[in-house]
Each structure stands twice: as structure tokens, then as C-alpha cells.
Symmetry: C2
Subunit: 145 residues, 2 copies
Amino acid sequence: MPDEDSLPEAHEQAARFTQVREAHKTEATEDYVELIDDLIRVNGEARLVDVASRMGVTQPTASKTLARLQRDGFINSEPYRSIFLTDQGKTLANESRLRHEIVFNFLLAIGVSRDAAVRDSEGMEHHVSEETLKVFEKVIRQNSK
Amino acid sequence: MPDEDSLPEAHEQAARFTQVREAHKTEATEDYVELIDDLIRVNGEARLVDVASRMGVTQPTASKTLARLQRDGFINSEPYRSIFLTDQGKTLANESRLRHEIVFNFLLAIGVSRDAAVRDSEGMEHHVSEETLKVFEKVIRQNSK
DNA sequence: CTTATAATTTAGCCTAGGCTCAGTTTATAC
DNA sequence: GTATAAACTGAGCCTAGGCTAAATTATAAG
Ligand SMILES: [Mn+2]
Ligand SMILES: [Mn+2]
Ligand SMILES: [Mn+2]
Ligand SMILES: [Mn+2]
């Protein structure tokens, strides 16, 4: 229970929420490019039908999101054809996968079950700062020794 | 780099993203009731102007969100008057604060700076399962010994 | 090669959650 | 007590990201 002067400064607290909102803005993009990259590696191509089923959304929803990703320069695709990552998209996919793996392996390292680690890391990954990520990596290294 | 059969089952992967989307649906509600509860404790009342400035949004935005919270039974307020939590709202505020504190203290325990812990926990808290939370608590206990 | 199926797109709808600008109500100062 | 300032509301706009239903295009089967 906080006492009289226990509230953080308003502008600092606001900055926290603004940062979370910023993270959420890029979240869909990161998850999509990461998935598209995986699909290309494993299947040789990324098709809308697979993106939609793996994202857990309908095809029109995935189609609309992909249109936005194309507008913003992360992917390329011609109508009715499969999806390609731009250089910008590839870079973001690699960064996102790396960060995701660190968060996932960190959860495993501290004793979280594989199932929970898979599920929790999907959301947590977007809210971990560079500083925290470094700490996560240190914990992973210590635990593998 | 994943090889041929490295993709998770589609329906499992979809469930992950669905879970993250569910978390995001309740996120604003949790952050708002937690803040309202804090304001009542410290200031004696929760006013829109403070909610807005601390959430980092404009007053009309906060006003609209609060209307939704009232519609959904988390708060009560009469026009132009301050905001009260319903029993449902108080319960959610307490649960949210507890979880938030655990995530925050966990980050401190593993060596993250106070600043980064404050910032990262604001987003992470909404993506931590009960199982992971228990592991976090264990790490906190071990570190305080 | 034609037909049926699968994949993709388009149109149109919805909610959440941002914003600005303008109006109303409450609180403060004088 | 009245004028001014602060707080709150309302209208209207926007984007993201969900959905369904229907049209279009591409692929597969026979
Ligand atoms: Mn994710
Ligand atoms: Mn919180
Ligand atoms: Mn939060
Ligand atoms: Mn999130």
C-alpha cells in the first residue's frame, strides 16, 4: 500500500505507458515478418493461407495486415502470389527472432516449463529493453555452465 | 536457422497469438484500475485529469476509456465527478498490482536497473502466466535470502 | 480442357483507443 | 457573487486489427 508520496512523477509514469503503446504498434509487424521468414526457410515460400492459420486470424485479416506491411516496406508480393521479405523486413525478422529466442531461453533457464515459455515469450518479447535482454543473456550463460 | 520440420503445429502457434491478443484486450482495464486505486489511496480521489496525465493520453481519450470501464462494471462515476472502483474493479486492481510488483521485483532481483525494471514491467506484467509468476516469486525469495 | 476446389482479394461492418476542437459544468479568484 | 480558469464531456475524425460474405484468380482433378 503506497503512502502519501508514493506516486511516481506524472510525466515519468506517462512515459512508461507511452513506451508500452509504442511496443504494441510494432508488435504485429515483428510477429508477421518473423513468421514469414520461418515459412520461407521451411516451406520455401510464405503463403497467405499459412500466415493466417499460424497467426490465428482469418485470411482477410492477414491480407489487410500484409497490405500494411507492404505499404511500410517490410514485404513484397504481387496479387495472388506468395510473400517476400524486403531487406528491411529481413533485418527486422532476424532481430525479432534473436530477441524472441533470448526471452524463450531465459524462461527455460530459470525453470519455466517449455509450454509456458513458448506461450509467455510470445508476448513478453515485445516489452524487454536492451538492458534487460543483456541480463537475460547473462542468466542463460550462467545456467548453461 | 530452423530446418525442414522446425515449425510448431499451426493450431498451437495460433493459440499463442490468440493468448497475446487476449492479454492486450484486458491490458488497458488493468492499468486504469490500478492507477485509479493508487490515486484514491494517495490523493483521496481519482480525477480524470490525473488519470489522463498519468496514462499519457488526452482527457477525451481517458474519458472514453473510463466510459467503457463503467459500461463493463469496473468503475462508477457521475458526470463531472471523480471516479470510484466497483468491487469488481477493486479486485482487479489488487490482482494487477500484485502481479505488477512481482514482475518488477523479479527484474530487480536478477540485476536489472530500477529505471529499466519500472519501464519493462509495465508491459511484461500482462504476458506472464501463473506458472511463470511462481518461478519469478521463487527467484525473488532466493535473492533476498 | 473443362470443371471443381483452393487461395486470395474486396467490400463492408465492428471495437478499441488514439487525436482535435468546441461546448458545458465545476471550481477558484477576486 | 460574478468573472475567469480548470475540468470534463461530446462530436467527429483517424488507424489498427478483428470479423463475414461474396467475388475473383489460380491450382488441381478428371
Ligand atoms: Mn510476439
Ligand atoms: Mn500495472
Ligand atoms: Mn501495464
Ligand atoms: Mn503487450
